[in-house]
């Protein structure tokens, strides 16, 4: 009887959603993306992304407010599918990657809005400037994966003003802000 109870509770534990678990962002399997889009002259969207980054988060569906995330981005990995433009993006006109090779985001608080939506507050350090930003985030899904692990995925967007982060190049009136989009899948540690 005791054994049965133990087995049952163990089984129950294994099927329960994670409790304040720590996750590593799945950059290994590239199920995570740090993307951006910026208007070109006001006529079209230019998309780009950072290919190299790492991070982890802790997440508890029941205590969302206690969730945390930190992310480190290798700014030299900027990729807009054009070598000459990427070279320019890495230069002092934009990201200044020689001087500031890393960008970081460290969350400070989470404010729940409804079921799967929340505001993620945190400090973003980009181009040597640290500023508080708010990411409008959404839980995309969570559950067991087919290979014995457990995953949770989130996406979020925020708008950054280039001048706020000392990005000096003037791309015109339609392009003073860039929209960042984060889409991450974490594997429970």
């Amino acid at each position: 009887m005791k054994k049965l109870f133990l087995a049952a509770s163990l089984a129950a534990l294994m099927t329960l959603p994670a409790q304040a678990a720590d996750y590593v962002i799945d950059t290994q399997g590239a199920h995570a993306f740090v993307q951006f889009k910026i208007s070109h002259l006001g006529y079209s969207w230019l998309y780009g992304r950072f290919n190299t980054f790492s991070g982890d988060f802790s997440y508890d569906a029941a205590k969302l407010a206690e969730s945390k995330i930190q992310l480190t981005i290798d700014t030299s990995s900027v990729d807009s599918n054009h070598a000459e433009r990427d070279k320019h993006l890495r230069s002092a006109d934009f990201l200044n990657v020689g001087k500031h090779p890393k960008a970081t985001f460290v969350s400070t608080k989470v404010v729940e809005r409804d079921n799967n939506n929340f505001d993620l507050y945190g400090n973003l350090t980009l181009n040597g400037v640290t500023k508080e930003v708010v990411i409008a985030a959404e839980k995309t899904g969570e559950g067991k994966d087919p290979w014995g692990g457990y995953r949770a995925g989130f996406s979020g967007t925020t708008t950054l003003t280039l001048k706020d982060f000392a990005i000096s190049m003037d791309l015109g009136p339609a392009s003073v802000t860039v929209q960042m989009e984060l889409s991450v899948e974490g594997i429970r540690k």
Binding site: S76, N81, H82, A83, E84, K87, R90, D170, G172
Partner: protein, 182 residues
């Protein structure tokens, strides 16, 4: 007339020399200016396009020039040149060629990392070799910048030496490059 002989430059060498001089100075000036153009400048797209097009045409010209140098070697040095002058001038001239070739290669590597060809005034495309090593555009860009400054310094030295021969030594070194008899 066309070919060099032991004491005179022929017309082909002279024309190739001055085309090179004009193109090198022009490319440097445009390159120096275009990297700071604002996004809304009329020249933001045109200046790099011309820089690349003229650069490729100069690369072809330099290949022809080196081939011509083989078929029709330059004349002997002016007899009044001192030994050290001859030695330094051949080192500088060698470095000018090496510098130009380095600029052609590094410039090509900046523009072609992502597989895009280089269009020469829309007349023809130079195909891209793609990414040959990590960090290609940035590394090639730094090489391009420093070699360009070095090449201009050497060009000034080369020009100053020619003027020194003309005005101080009063010999025929510079006049020969305009086709005059020694």
């Amino acid at each position: 007339m066309w070919k060099n002989d032991v004491s005179r430059y022929g017309l082909i060498s002279i024309v190739l020399h001055w085309i090179t001089a004009l193109a090198v100075l022009g490319l440097f000036a445009v390159g120096f200016w275009m990297v700071d153009l604002t996004y809304y400048s009329q020249w933001y797209r045109t200046a790099p396009y011309w820089h690349k097009s003229i650069g490729i045409l100069l690369a072809i010209t330099i290949c022809l020039r080196l081939a011509w140098r083989y078929f029709s070697p330059p004349p002997n040095a002016v007899t009044t040149h001192k030994r050290w002058e001859k030695q330094i001038s051949s080192v500088v001239q060698g470095l000018l060629y090496i510098g130009m070739v380095t600029l052609f290669i590094s410039g090509y590597l900046i523009s072609t990392e992502d597989g895009r060809p280089i269009s020469v005034f829309g007349w023809f495309d130079v195909p891209a070799a793609g990414a040959l090593f990590d960090n290609q555009a940035d590394t090639a860009g730094l090489v391009h910048e420093y070699v360009a400054y070095s090449l201009i310094a050497l060009t000034l030295l080369h020009g100053a030496a020619a003027l020194k021969h003309h005005f101080v030594d009063k010999d025929n070194t510079l006049r020969r490059m305009f086709g005059r008899k020694p």
